[in-house]
Symmetry: C2
Subunit: 396 residues, 2 copies
Amino acid sequence: MTRRGFLLSAGTTTGAFALGAGVGVAANAAVALRADTAVGAATVNFYGAHQAGIETPFQAHGVFLGFDLKRDTTHVMARRMMELLTDDAARLAQGDPALPDNDPYLAEKPARLTATFGFGPGFFTKLGLSSQIPAGFADLPAYRIDKLVPEYSGSDLVISIGSDDPLTLAHAVRQLTRTARSFSSIRWSQKGFVRSQGVAPATQTNRNLFGQVDGTINPAPGTEAFAGQVWAEGSPSWFAGGTQLVLRRIAMNLDTWDKLDEGGKEISVGRKLSNGAPLTGVHEFDAADMEAKNSAGLSVIPDFAHMRRARTDNPKEKFLRRPLNYDDGILLDGTSNSGLLFAAYMANIQTQYLPVQQRLVDLDLLNTWTTPIGSAVYALPPGCLPGGFIGEGLLS
Amino acid sequence: MTRRGFLLSAGTTTGAFALGAGVGVAANAAVALRADTAVGAATVNFYGAHQAGIETPFQAHGVFLGFDLKRDTTHVMARRMMELLTDDAARLAQGDPALPDNDPYLAEKPARLTATFGFGPGFFTKLGLSSQIPAGFADLPAYRIDKLVPEYSGSDLVISIGSDDPLTLAHAVRQLTRTARSFSSIRWSQKGFVRSQGVAPATQTNRNLFGQVDGTINPAPGTEAFAGQVWAEGSPSWFAGGTQLVLRRIAMNLDTWDKLDEGGKEISVGRKLSNGAPLTGVHEFDAADMEAKNSAGLSVIPDFAHMRRARTDNPKEKFLRRPLNYDDGILLDGTSNSGLLFAAYMANIQTQYLPVQQRLVDLDLLNTWTTPIGSAVYALPPGCLPGGFIGEGLLS
């Protein structure tokens, strides 16, 4: 399909197709909203210096799968597992079925599918590779705010899969899980989402389930700042071009949060709910004035505000946030089982992440409504070229 | 935004925007895939002769919420509940916040949001309204194939919410749940999906997680056939323009299903996996030849094939299928917790649905890989006009 063809196709939508706010689609008309297939056909290149799915702009849907190596999985078998997983992921990213795949028709619409692989601390120790653990990579310390449950914590291997289509995603999860299960046992899966394609402008920062604009300070993909924060250099050498992932499952108490009014919500973060601007500014990307006082002489952005605690001018303490919302139904007490799959990527957990997390543990008003219930860390190898496999520098 | 504006907007996407199969988006480019906001701005009119969300073309995401009336909820309170829920739903469908809504910014992108309401058998009995139960409406009989669990079965009230955006949906679930919980207790929630907007052509029938094209025989919205199958006539009078919903949660064993090859999968249904055509035809909508034999003298569409068992020439046994896929992570044994939220709408469960279901219970090869684990029935009142409320004919 050519670009011109796409425009023509868009132009053939019926007159009932709502193109703007307030223009209603008749409830019972057989309206063709899915007038094009560009979302489904779009692909992300699997191969490259870095793994896909990290610098890739948010896909609408994502799943994190945690696996533990089986007791008898050797170094050679782990290598074989990563070769097979790489092959599956490269094929699925192009809209081709994995080998074998008895449901090939579910692979046809990649919708920017990516699969990204990472190794937990147990991967290194179980395989006798402790000497190859990247600099700064280790389990997080125990934090007093944490109420971790094993169902969402740790694992030897993580596969993070993203796509703009939930059916494609479900299929890819199944294919990659089948391959991984020959060498490992699945421990947990965690599913999340942001906005669907076509709902909000591409430049708009996501909102979380608290209604907050979330991700304003992220480095822009393709910039030096991004590379400096995210991609590791050569220590150890196999890890050059890789990154480290902190995955935290943060339960959000929407019931108590919604007892706050808009002003109460805003001071807990230090940003406006309407557009994410700092309380001292007007626009989302305005620099925050941490010295500003109100007429009563109090800080406009309070000491306890999340943004003051998380923020840093130290370039060595910055990192990429790529969180997904989760909403897994209803708990026994009738409240929603909702929150954030907080995924942060950085070259070095110890130097970049730990200082920020410690400040948030010490003081952050948002802790009132949030509880970390899962936590895990992974070393994500660099990308590979056709013929290679993810993790080849470690496992060859 | 005008239609012309939409096309111009689509035309401003960058050259890196993949418009066709096989054209890759560079993995690490900051590509604007969400080039327009038409999906988010689209609305479905809440008001009308029938409730929205039934004849509405599939939204990408849906949730069914089951509530039981509190012991002390009276007829007057049930009326008040439905007035408030109607008000919430009408506002949210336009992208306006419910009253009260402390997260109004999450309501801004309706993405064809609909909320549809239905009453279970307990709603009538608890409120002393048994004389108003619609013709043919009752709990399904116990079927030998069923392994029902209470967590997914029955309830006095159902709210079915659909939207093309998962964040909008999560927000609407929360708003409507908050209103309903003043009068009832939530019993379960079930979440499902089909393809995202823009993934497949609008005319394309959905696929389920077995990879099957599912829904070929549905009546087209807006036709006489649709109206005849779905909308009830006046018995009792309050129910004219309403419909009856059978909601079945059908677990699908993807592991054993995937042990079949393509031919094995096809004879279990009687249709081709590739495009849903009957095994005696070429195209999806070709009429099936139930008499056709192969060279060995056996039926091309076997006796045990799902389509032969479900199919009927009796117009009084047809109904609308509007199923969603569900994929709720991993069960303890490592298999996926997946299946179908089978939602069928018809004027009269007894005459239209029960004969078909009984045939499928008696013989259907698909039963080998599927297990109904939840079941519920609801009477869905007709729609209402501004100033009215859903259920007004019953509760006024």
